[in-house]
Amino acid sequence: MLDQTIDLDRTFQALADKSRRTMVERLTLGPASVSELAAPLAMSLAAVLQHVQVLESCGLVKTEKVGRTRTCRMERAAMSAAEQWITDRRRGWEARLDRLGDVLNEVATTEERP
């Protein structure tokens, strides 16, 4: 819980900047290179890269460098969807195995009766 809080603080901090919000909005449409992210912004590539590093450090964005191009993509929402699924699967099984216990008790009770 504590880690999540810290993470959320960093995420909010990362998003408390108009340029970085513009980049995030662009990345929700799909991956983009640093220069594509820079295109609508009046700033240098170096400055854009610094913003990308802030977004990456809080886990909101993942980047990968292939050759001379650094590609950025959204990360956080996809991960939480995956984590949610894994939690749901486990919880689903816990509930199902509880019901199995109930059914076994019912069957055992019925069979014991003459």
Binding site: F12, T71, R76, I86, V107
Partner: protein, 155 residues
């Protein structure tokens, strides 16, 4: 360029039941009994739920809220050792999109009047089907939370 991701996970759940192993195994093998706990309704058998319990046989469940996403579960049995072990694989779909593929192993340990059951599931979650939408939604909610916190709603 794709947005596909694959997330792997393994979990193990152990339960001990106050029932002999023959009965616990029967609850996995008999379609009527299994529908009662697996789906939670004995009426589900033949109405969304089907079980063909044999090696190579299939099990399927399809359901969801009216007008909402239809969730489909489709499994196939690979190994069955009566009162000892069941190994099956299964896929989950949200409408037409495959969202996960899993291998599940159920081990039965008969210990007199009680049975210890160990369920191990190893799965891969595939989220390349509606990732963009999920991401957009996730990001939007983050941005809304941010806006709320900046307005001081949260403090």
């Amino acid at each position: 360029m794709t947005l596909s991701t694959a997330v792997h996970d393994t979990f193990v759940i152990e339960r001990t039941y106050d029932a002999p192993v023959a009965l616990v195994f029967e609850a996995w093998a008999d379609p009527t009994l299994k529908a009662r706990w697996f789906v939670g309704s004995r009426e589900a058998l033949g109405a969304g739920y089907d079980l063909d319990f044999r090696v190579g046989g299939r099990e399927a469940f399809r359901g969801g809220p009216p007008g909402g996403t239809v969730h489909t579960y489709e499994s196939r049995f690979h190994d069955i050792v009566p009162e000892q072990r069941i190994v099956y694989t299964y896929e989950m779909y949200a409408d037409e999109a495959r969202i996960s593929v899993s291998v599940a192993t159920v081990e039965f340990h008969g210990e007199g009047a009680v049975t210890r059951l160990v369920l191990t599931e190893q799965g891969v979650f595939l989220d390349d089907h509606d990732t963009a939408a999920q991401r957009e939604e996730g990001t939007r909610s983050l941005l809304e939370s941010l806006a709320a916190s900046l307005r001081g709603d949260d403090s």
